[in-house]
Symmetry: C2
Subunit: 156 residues, 2 copies
């Protein structure tokens, strides 16, 4: 898990170096895929929130662990590759809320991405153990790491 985190974090940090593997994905599709990743993570965040924070849905350890694993899997998949050249604005049918400033602040983005990856992997780890209080705390940290980037680099 730790090795995977380090690789993932490096992958995100290397946004500006997004190289060969990303070269084949059109800017429009890069935006589509990254939005899909965030969207699918948000569904899983919602499940965990309902069960662990709000209590509006009964806690189901397996569902929460699976949701956390999905988030971590997506977070670790090298989404930095989806911020290639030409993806700082709407392209074709794909609208993006990213602020162009993101592409001029890669060092800071790298740190935010690293925090996000760490939080996602920590949540997956504690969710597998199933202790609700610990999961709630880790979920809160993950939410903060999402918000830190949204506040700076996502338009409303």
């Amino acid at each position: 898990m730790k090795g995977m985190f380090v690789r993932a974090a490096l992958g995100v940090i290397a946004v500006s170096l997004a190289g060969v593997a990303a070269a084949q994905v059109k800017p429009e599709d890069q935006i589509k895929f990254r939005k899909a990743g965030y969207s699918f993570m948000s569904w899983n965040m919602g499940k965990i929130k309902a069960q662990v924070v709000e209590g509006s849905v009964p806690f189901n350890k397996d569902q929460v662990a699976a949701a956390a694993a999905a988030i971590a899997g997506i977070a670790n998949s090298g989404m930095g590759q989806l911020y290639g050249p030409g993806t700082d604005r709407d392209v074709g049918n794909q609208k993006t809320r990213v602020k162009p400033e993101l592409f001029q602040n890669m060092e800071e983005v790298g740190k935010l991405a690293k925090n996000f990856n760490m939080a996602a992997n920590d949540l997956a780890k504690v969710a597998a153990d199933g202790d609700q209080a610990t999961i709630k705390a880790a979920f809160g940290k993950l939410g903060e790491s999402c918000k830190a980037c949204h506040d700076k680099f996502r338009a409303e």
Copy 2:
């Protein structure tokens, strides 16, 4: 891994029973989220295909393992919950290519979903080991399991 597969498969099989946890997600959002999941998986399938099948991108063990883990994480997250009542047709801004027949053949869908989950988890397992020939074979099986459902239950 095996436990997670069983839970995930049961989750998908229980499409028609999608219960409390899904109740809060509007049909329109269910369609949005399931499309996001498939879209993000397709990006990761594309990376593995380029590196392991086509050879158009140099093989990078870590990238392929991360891509396979993302696919498995999504596959295991209980996407059956996203096929609730009212999601058998376009809703609001969300178009769906699902055929209404899917909702009348839950037993068969459950088998297809089980095959898909098994193939996704097997790919993640062998990708972590890094042997290209084994990964290629597992990737082929995963693709077949996708196609089996598309052929029957997805409109062109």
